[in-house]
């Protein structure tokens, strides 16, 4: 009899979703769908608010990447009002974005994903979690927990508030960085760099290879990729740059984020509250793992695929190791974990670079005066889960009249659904499955860090 297996909630992910696996008469997988159960609709209630308040509201879209929402929306508001941050403020923002990414990546790799690698995909579900990790690898777990905590607190000490930040203001930043703060953050970030190098080595030498091999059939399909790059040399960019959309064969086009509607479109499906972005020029979206149409992916794997290189040396040599092994573009879903750690190294190195530049201590932190005016603007950064685009319009008093946003996880909606179906098809046959096999299907989603 045809039936549906519902896996709910999806666990050890940072959002809310469920997975329905539909089995046919023979017990084989007919389809699998990841459904997002609720609509938050921030776009709606941004309307009528003063445009400079948007960055203090949208942080609540995500408690894990509030800094990226804070910064991208500020850029959009600035474009509306026709102001730009001072150079020092731009450095401080990028610094905060880098510092915020470090605990986020540690959290995902060690607390959410690693229980599958260390304890095994089929381990007892009551133990397959961070507490189990503490039992199995106490030193490592403790170290990761401490590093995550220290980087969170370091950023909080400087910026006042780390979860749902408030320090980024239209035109700049709320306070300058003091010399003693810089020294503290520098020491902290150097420790974080050591830890990130240890992590990427551990991952590529020990934890990931067996799984990459085993999971090849669970998740590899050709897709396009979207990510930000430096307009000058095409290197990895997270804070500012142009967007590059790379096709399955590696050919690519670049566009300014403000041109997003010419390149990206979104489709509504009746069975989930989350929309499906796709490449506009494809004209449609087809979720077929052999020949997907219109599908692109974002997040770290996309970013390391689209970039020409990485501007910091240690992350760049990790990228070279990665490319030697998997080519470019690399299509295996499981490689998201690996790419995430390459980015972790980059974030630490980039934070150190910024902190070592004396200009970051500048006292000119805000472009003033700023007058309300009617305007329209797009702001964009790379969030941990993908390209984050804000599009705002305001009236002559600077009150928001329209808001649109494309968040990281939304871009990956199609990719995640395809991965889930592919993983389910290879894991479940003839109606035979158990909790461990179902967890491997969930692992194909966990890789995206949704």
């Amino acid at each position: 009899m045809p039936r549906t297996i519902r896996i709910a909630p999806l666990t050890r992910i940072e959002g809310h979703a469920a997975l329905d696996i539909h089995l046919d008469e023979a017990g084989d997988v007919a389809d699998a769908r990841m459904t997002v159960m609720s609509l938050r609709g921030f776009e709606k209630f941004l309307m009528g608010r003063p445009v400079e308040e948007v960055p203090r509201i949208v942080t609540r879209i995500c408690g894990i990447c509030p800094w990226q929402h804070h910064i991208a929306s500020t850029k959009a508001a600035e474009a509306c009002l026709g102001v730009a941050p001072t150079p020092t403020a731009a450095q401080l923002r990028e610094l905060c974005q880098m510092l915020a990414s470090i605990p986020d990546k540690i959290l995902h790799f060690y607390f959410l994903a690693a229980p599958d690698f260390v304890l095994g995909p089929g381990a007892d579900p009551a133990l397959r979690n961070v507490a189990g990790l503490v039992g199995a690898a106490p030193e490592l777990a403790r170290k990761a927990a401490l590093m995550r905590y220290r980087t969170q607190m370091g950023l909080e000490k400087f910026a006042g508030k780390v979860i749902h930040p408030v320090a980024v203001l239209v035109g700049g930043f709320s306070k300058p960085l003091l010399e003693h703060e810089r020294a503290e953050l520098l020491a902290l970030t150097r420790d974080a760099l050591d830890f990130s190098l240890e992590s990427v080595r551990l991952a590529r030498e020990t934890l990931l290879p067996p799984l990459v091999k085993r999971f090849r059939e669970l998740g590899e399909y050709p897709s396009a990729y979207l990510g930000m790059v430096d307009p000058n040399d095409g290197s990895l960019a997270l804070h500012d740059g142009v967007l590059r959309l790379m096709d399955q064969d590696g050919s690519h086009e670049e566009f300014h984020p403000s041109d997003y509607t010419s390149h990206l479109a979104e489709k509504v499906e009746p069975w989930t509250y989350l929309k499906f972005p796709y490449m506009r020029r494809a004209g449609r979206l087809v979720l077929d793992e052999r020949e997907p149409v219109g599908l692109y992916r974002t997040n770290c794997l996309a970013r390391v695929n689209v970039c020409e290189g990485i501007s910091t040396p240690l992350a760049h040599s990790e990228l070279e190791i990665f490319r030697r092994e998997f080519g470019r573009p690399a299509h295996q879903t499981f490689l998201y974990h690996w790419a995430r750690l390459i980015e972790l190294v980059y974030c630490c190195e980039r934070a150190i670079e910024l902190l070592e530049d004396p200009a970051i201590l500048g006292r000119d932190i805000r472009t003033l005066p700023i007058a309300p005016r009617a305007g329209e603007g797009v702001g964009c950064v790379e969030a941990p889960r993908g390209t984050l685009i804000y599009h705002l319009k305001c009236d002559h008093e600077g009150m928001v009249t329209h808001a649109n946003l494309l968040a990281g996880t939304t871009h990956n909606n199609a990719g995640m659904n395809l991965s889930a179906r592919q993983a389910a098809r290879s894991a479940i046959k003839g109606g035979v499955y158990d909790q461990g096999l179902l967890n491997t299907v969930e692992m194909s989603l966990r890789a995206y860090d949704p």
Binding site: T4, I5, I7, P9, L10, T11, E14, H16, T35, M37, S38, L39, R40, G41, E43, K44, F45, G48, P50, E53, R56, I57, G63, I64, L81, F111, P125, A126, R128, N129, A131, R142, Y149, Q152, G160, K161, I163, V166, A167, L169, S174, K175, L178, Y260, A265, K267, V268, P270, W271, T272, Y273, K275, P369, P372, G398, M399, N404, D434, L438, N439
Partner: protein, 315 residues
């Protein structure tokens, strides 16, 4: 070992990160706690590990912790199940205690939100609303509600997110079987900035209220005690009408520490306070006029949309 079941409803996961930000305290408490259900960190499933059950089930626990507001039928089902399976229910974070920022949506209809998202965006190819009657997704409720509007709550820990000190206080007081000592009074009560009073002439007195398009005056090399109160400087600071606690046991209010005005993320000072009324007095005291304030619901009801009675605006 005390069994704990945690859930998140219409939430952002910031409250859960705030729990992790207990740091060492969490590691000390962990041996005494057993998380039987906590979707962000552990793998327990509503319908059994292989989806074999029909009814949504959460294991029994002594303490239930819930973050996020109630926005759809599934949130309601999960919340009722959690209430039924736990002895003590803690509402964690301002979304759970007062609706939080997502309840700003209560100023317009749920249908108008769907209209915008699914048919009113330049990047979206218009399509019909997702259809809960034909697919396995829950229907949206008309409003985004606080948890206490649907079930009995034993302990409220507000904050967006709550400071880890008060999360620790909530857990430890439950373990010790005593009443928790939570902060009362307003953010101003714990704010170190200098208040000179209306007689000394407020920067903003008689002038216009400042939006965040302007920059407060302060000397970055000097502490907060040397900075003049932001409200006295003419900035709309919600400190007077917001519950204290964001700085933890020791620290200054967090936004003030970043040199920006409070926006009210701890919710109203107490269950009976009326920010819309109380703020009139706060502005008058610094020589400002309430009538000049733009977007009043956007400032005064930013975090407590489930409790204030605001007229629905035109969609």
């Amino acid at each position: 070992m005390v069994k704990i079941a945690g859930e998140w409803l219409n939430s952002c996961s910031g409250c859960e990160i705030a729990i992790l930000n207990l740091g060492e305290t969490l590691l000390t408490l962990l041996p005494e706690l057993e998380f039987v259900h906590l979707p962000v960190l552990t793998d327990n499933k509503y319908f059994g590990q292989t989806g074999e059950r029909d009814a949504l089930t959460i294991p029994r626990a002594v303490v239930g912790i819930v973050s996020g507001g109630v926005r759809n039928e599934e949130h309601l089902e999960v919340l009722r199940e959690l209430r039924a399976k736990t002895d003590v229910l803690v509402a964690l974070g301002t979304c759970a205690t007062a609706g939080g920022i997502p309840a700003l949506a209560n100023q317009t209809s749920a249908a108008s939100m769907r209209e915008l998202v699914y048919r009113g965006q330049p990047s979206t190819v218009p399509g019909p609303d997702p259809d809960p009657s034909r697919h396995h997704i829950p229907a949206m409720l008309e409003t985004c509600d606080a948890v206490s509007q649907h079930v009995k709550v034993d302990l409220s820990v507000p904050g967006c997110p709550p400071h880890p000190d008060w999360i620790a206080e909530a857990i430890v007081s439950l373990l010790e079987g005593r009443a928790p000592a939570m902060p009362e009074r307003s953010v101003c009560d714990g704010c170190p900035t200098r208040r000179l009073g209306p007689d000394s002439g407020c920067a903003g007195a008689g002038g216009t209220l400042h939006r965040l398009l302007e920059q407060p005056a302060f000397d970055p090399d000097k502490g907060l005690e040397e900075m003049r109160c932001l409200l006295e400087q003419g900035f709309m600071c919600m400190g007077p009408v917001t519950r204290r606690g964001c700085g933890g046991r020791e620290g200054a209010p967090r936004c003030i520490a970043a040199r920006v005005p409070c926006r009210g993320c701890y919710g109203p000072v107490n269950a009976h306070s009326l920010p819309f009324v109380d703020y009139v007095g706060a502005l008058t005291a610094v020589g400002q006029s309430y009538a000049d304030m733009p977007d009043k619901p956007g400032y005064l009801s930013r975090f407590n949309g489930s409790h204030t009675i605001i007229r629905k605006l035109e969609d």
